[in-house]
Every structure is written in C-alpha cells, then in structure tokens.
C-alpha cells in the first residue's frame, strides 16, 4: 500500500468574488522511500498542496472535495489533536527560507531539542544530546560546539542543515521540502541534495520536493507532478517526462531554461518563450484548458472543455487534448 494517496483533491480559497479552486482535481501516490517532485511556476498551487497534506491550510482555504490518505489514515477528516501528533512525528516540512524559519533568539540546539521534548517527551538532557547527534548527521562540522550557536552565527547552508536536522528529529515517514535550496548557492545546493538523498536511502523516508528547477528534479526525483494553475498538467516517472514531455507546458518548462550544455561551442539560439503569465485565480475553475491562452497548439476544444489525463506511450499521463487524438 502506498504511503500517501491523494485522490481528486480540490481546495477552495474564499475570495471576495466567491470560492476559487487553487487545487482542482489533483490525484497522486507516493511510495515509502521514494521522491516525488512538484514543479511549476509560482502561483500554480505547489505549496498549497503541501500545506493541505500537512493540514496547515490558511484560514480562507478548505478541502472542498477529495481525500488525502497517509499511512492508512484519512487526513482531511482528522481532528486537530491527532493532526498535531502526525505533524512532526510522521510528516515534517523544510521551508524555503532558512533565514526566517528559525527563531533568532534561541540557539539552534534549543530549537531542535524543543521538537524532541514536545513530540518524544524526552528530558532536557537527552534532547540536547540527541540534538548534537542530529547536527552531526546533517554534517555540520564540530556539532558539539555549534549546537549552542544562534542562527545568525551560521551560514545559509548550515541553517538549512539545521532545518533538515529538525525535520529529521522524530524520524518521520515523509518529509516535504518546499524549495529547500532556492536561496542557496549551487555548491551548497549540491551538498544539501546529496545529504537529502543519503538520508532518504538510509532511513527509508519518502520525500516530496517542491521546486521550479527541472535540473533539480532530474537529479533528485523518481516521479514528478508538473502543476499548472492548480491542476496536474503531466504526471509520471521522471525519466519518461524528461525524455519525452507530452504537455506543451512541460515542454516549455524544460526548454525555456538555458541549461548548462555539454558542448559549449553549440550555437546559442533564442530560448523558447512561454508567452504571458499564469492566469488569475478567479479563472481557475473554468471548464477549459487553463494553459490554452499561452499554448502554441491551442484549438477550439481547449477552450470549451477541460482535458482529462490521457495515458502516454512512455508511461506518464498528460492533461492535454493533443494526446486524445493519439
């Protein structure tokens, strides 16, 4: 049985103009020990999905439809007390900004120990010793003395390691990493990715990686969900999607980034542009392809009906009418 199964999830935000679906009919599964990646531009609902799984939706948001089953439990109907037990113990999250997600007035050791005392009921002393072990396991040099450092005394990469140590502290079954390396240098990003990969392999933790970088996806993920305007544009194994992307949005996402080329003498053509921007939230609920206004292949059908997910030969599913015709 899968660790996490999301089915037909619909999340509505209450806007002044009425409810708007930020997530519309999203389904996915994640097995233990695997890495799933959400990709897309900002405003496509990647983080909102993560918050829904964590039960941390903002006050204006609610799960309108669908199920989120995690490890045999239905998360959408659980009472807050049980959710609070699951958060931290079974699911934990790493945020994008290591600068702002740590408390500046406590040492990093105190912050890690707090998690352990709260969730594991450890004594002050045991929690502190465990905090040192955890800092050591995320490869912070000289953990014994660094445990009493304040966040401002650490570099961005080290702070992100502290966040990872906190996320790991209760040995969760699932870690959600929301753009964990966006604020970091590439060299540090490579180290953090290596660390996450090793930890996932050693502990069998499943990972959801939210990113906008296809390179990071290629490096880290087993499966990928390409999200556009709250809907899954393309879902499937990473290899299939990178080798033969079927949805025009996925194709655009891959080719619009100037990737480092193996042959630097190759001609530098203009980058493929995806014209325009993500449509406004108020139009998310319409029964049409939301990508149509930016798509070079759009035709009448795209504007009159929402495409369903069609199976593609390489093994992924693409929500595009082009696939319907074979």
């Amino acid at each position: 049985m899968s660790l996490l199964t999301v089915e037909n999830l619909r999340i509505e935000l209450a806007l002044r103009s009425g409810p708007a679906p930020v997530i519309d009919d999203l389904s996915l599964t994640l097995e233990a020990g695997k890495t799933l990646s959400f990709v897309g531009e900002s405003g496509c609902g990647k983080s909102m999905t993560a918050l829904a799984i964590m039960g941390l939706l903002p006050d204006v948001g609610r799960v309108a439809h669908g199920t989120i089953r995690f490890d045999g439990e239905e998360l959408t109907t659980l009472p807050d007390t049980r959710l609070r037990e699951i958060r931290g113990n079974d699911i934990s999250m790493i945020f994008q900004e290591p600068m702002t997600s740590l408390n500046p007035v406590y040492t990093v050791g105190e912050q890690i120990a707090e998690v352990l005392r709260r969730h594991k009921g450890m004594s002050q002393r045991d929690a502190w010793t465990r905090a040192i072990d955890l800092l050591d396991s995320v490869r912070i040099p000289n953990a014994k003395s660094r445990v009493s450092a304040y966040p401002h005394e650490m570099s961005g990469g080290q702070r992100q390691r502290v966040m990872i140590a906190m996320a790991l502290s209760c040995a969760p079954k699932l870690i959600i990493a929301d753009e964990p390396t966006t604020a970091l240098d590439v060299t540090v990003q490579a180290q953090i990715f290596e660390l996450l990969r090793d930890l996932a392999r050693d502990t069998g933790t499943a990972l959801i990686l939210i990113t906008h970088d296809m390179g990071a996806v290629a490096e880290m993920a087993d499966d990928v969900v390409v999200m556009y305007a709250g809907r899954a544009a393309e879902v499937g194994p990473v290899d299939a999607i990178l080798k033969d992307p079927r949805h025009p949005y996925t194709q655009g996402l891959i080719s619009c980034v100037p990737h480092l080329k193996a042959d630097p003498t190759a001609a530098r053509h203009d980058l493929t542009e995806i014209p325009g921007i993500v449509p406004p939230l108020s139009s998310f609920g319409t029964d049409s392809c939301l990508f149509a206004s930016r798509c070079a292949h759009a035709h009448d059908r795209c504007l009159s009906a929402r495409p369903k997910a069609f199976a593609c030969p390489a093994g992924q599913f693409a929500a595009c009418w082009l696939e319907a015709d074979g």
């Binding site: 531009e41 900002s42 040099p141 570099s155 961005g156 240098d185 590439v186 060299t187 540090v188 990003q189 490579a190 180290q191 990715f193 906008h212 970088d213 296809m214 390179g215 990071a216 996806v217 290629a218 490096e219 290899d239 990178l242 655009g252 996402l253 891959i254 619009c256 980034v257 100037p258 990737h259 480092l260 080329k261 193996a262 042959d263 630097p264 003498t265 530098r268 203009d270 980058l271 493929t272 542009e273 995806i274 014209p275 921007i277």
Partner: protein, 318 residues
Amino acid sequence: MSLLEIKNLSVRFRVKRAWGKSSYLHAVDDVSLSVPRGQTLALVGESGSGKTTAALAAARLVPAAGGSVMLGDTDLLKLEGEALRQARARVQVIFQDPYSSLNPRLRAGAIVREPMDALGTPDKPDRDARVAELFAQVGLRPEQRALFPHQFSGGQRQRIGIARALATSPDLIVCDEAVSALDVAVQAQILNLLRRLQTDLGLTYLFISHDLGVVQHMSDRVAVMYMGRIVEEADRIALFSNPQHPYTQALLAAVPSVERAKRSGVKMTGEAPDPLNPPPGCMFASRCPKVQPSCKASPPPLDAQAPDHRVACFFPGE
C-alpha cells in the same frame, strides 16, 4: 579596443570590532578586467564573492579603495562633481529585484523618463518621444506608461527597469542578477529581450549571475570570482569546455542537469575562510580537493595559462 578597462580595482569596507578597534574587509581585491564594445562579460561566483561590489564600484556606486576604471578614454574613478554626474549617463544598472527597484509612487512612464530629467539628455521636447520609443523596444504597450509599478507582473516590471537603464543611451549596462528573481518562463522572455537589445543597439553588458546555465547562454567572456579575487578568466568556450581552476570545476560540477548524466568531478568540502581574517595563501585552500602545503604559504598569482585564459592556481588543469 576595449570599452571598459578595469585595472587593479579594490574595494574595502571598514568593520567595527570589539574594544573600539576596526579592521578592513577586502570585498574586491586587485581585480583587472576588460570588456570589448558590444560584448558581454559575465562575473560569476557564490554569494559574497564580491561580484556585485566589483561591478558597482566600477559604476561609481560603491567607493573604490584603489585602481582605475577606464570607460573609453575617461577614468571614472577620477571624476568628481558635474563631470561624474554626466558620466553616469554612460553606465546604467539593471537591478535584481523588480519589486524594490521601482518607485511605487511614480507611473511607469515617469520612471523611465527620470534618468533623462536628471541628466538633461536628450532635450526636453524629445523626451516623451524617447519614452514611447523605449516602451516599444522593451515590449510594453504605449498605454502602460500611465500605470503604477504594482499594476505590472514581475517580468513587465523588469522590462520597465530595462527601459530605464536604456533611457540615457548608455555605453555600458551592468545587469546585476537581472533574471534571478523571475519565474523560469518569464526569465526566458527577459534573456531573449536582453540579447535582442544587444544585437540591435550594440550594447555592452557586465553580466552578474550565479546561474552558470544563464551565463553560458549570455556571455562572450567569463570571470569567476572567489572571496573578492578573480580565480579564472577566459573566453566562454574555453572556460566551459576546459576549466582550469578547481573552484570553477567544482562550480560547474554542482549545477544539476536535465541530461541526468551522473555528476562527476570535483566536490567541495569544508568552509570558506573568515573574510575578515583571510589566510596568507590561496583563499580556496580550505575547500580545495587538490590542496598542497605550498598553497597555504602564498597566494597564487593570476597567470595566463594559455593566450586569453588566466588562472590563479599553482596546480591548474587536471
């Protein structure tokens, strides 16, 4: 003949220490670069490597501690008063954050017009026409001149920033992480626009970026900076196909690739040294996988390894 010739540029910041003492942080240390007219020189490096400070010092936006910055025949560092003000028309900057770099209380047209009003070029009656021309060049509609910055998307705001930088017809444009804050789809639009403007107007770019894919796409020459110094400088093709400095090699190896080729090569370990208390030898020694005892004794000079390929390493190459 180079348009911009930076020689031995240094920038240092005074840092207050305990007990009333102060020491100096050498943000840019003995940097020499040249950029031919119509070309793009990229400055790359991790955050804190001094790439932005070096470029801003060359534009006289940060005071330099020494060196010279020749733009054509004038040394920008020697200019004062009115002469400096006039010279500013020749060097303009496109900033990273299109949200904080535009005045929220001015309309887009006024933002683009402001440099012309401040510097007095072109003549007053021609300025409105120039604003209209600039809006067309960067792909904005004429009626958008009347809107305020908050009514634009991130990519459109960056277009306003580009139009503003072009307003005084500068010789040199400093692009300081001009696309880092943008979504990938919008980033492609802006990169294409910058390249098209360069071809159409013969612009010269000093292009600061930490994204090596973007640099490979945009540059003619590349200078790699580490802790305030240039560690390698070469033609784009030479640098990407045959990187000589271990830092450059590690930087290239760290970029995730969609080609899914297993990453090989140099891995960095360790921590960068304290910039306030730099080691006597090579700055990279503490993180270098190929470090030898001699690296820690004296800093390696930036020598030409091949014609047009300078490397600051005692053991360059493999």
